[in-house]
Symmetry: C2
Subunit: 112 residues, 2 copies
């Protein structure tokens, strides 16, 4: 039972809504929403956006939550999952520094 499940379940309960009503409002099958609330499935990006809008959940934070959950489900079978993330971080930082470099280059070119 992940945080996403709880967030969705609580959001619906606070509003005293049944799945059918949410399903109609956001155009997602009620069975699927049930699975999200039970942690059986993870919403897609589009579904995430729809649900966050409907429930007034901050979109970016929710997206981060969803995508990180997907990452976790991919790597959790490995005993070295934490190391994977550390290495991934280094790679992302490296990519960002390359982008930063390119941005600086572009800025210099624009100045000319």
């Amino acid at each position: 039972m992940s945080a996403i499940s709880e967030i969705l379940y609580n959001a619906r309960k606070q509003r005293n809504l049944v799945l059918r009503k949410v399903a109609a409002a956001v155009d997602i099958d009620q069975s699927l929403i049930s699975k999200f609330e039970k942690g059986e499935r993870v919403p897609t990006k589009e579904q995430t956006i729809k649900l966050s809008k409907f429930y007034g959940i901050p979109q970016k934070e929710f997206l981060i939550d969803i995508i990180s959950e997907k990452v976790v489900r991919t790597i959790q079978e490995y005993e070295f999952a934490e190391t994977i993330l550390k290495v991934a971080e280094e790679k992302i930082e490296y990519l960002n520094s390359k982008r930063g470099f390119k941005k600086q280059q572009n800025n210099l070119l624009d100045a000319k």
Copy 2:
């Protein structure tokens, strides 16, 4: 051009092997190995194991490299990729602490 590409390319060059020879030895299409070396594709787990054995690359380290590369390719489109990894880390740590708890429980039960 990722580290994986360089590792594979250098490993092959050091041994003065052509793709065809490696391909036959590890039973992976030579065109595919070329794509790995160029960073166009990422090897599967099974391919990773085969290549690490063939080249004598430490398997666990190589697996970590490969899987983290896949994670990176999934999330790098987002400007908040680093945050995703941070949250994923917290989730993994949480899971590990739950597992630790279960292990302790199991140990206690065994002791009885």
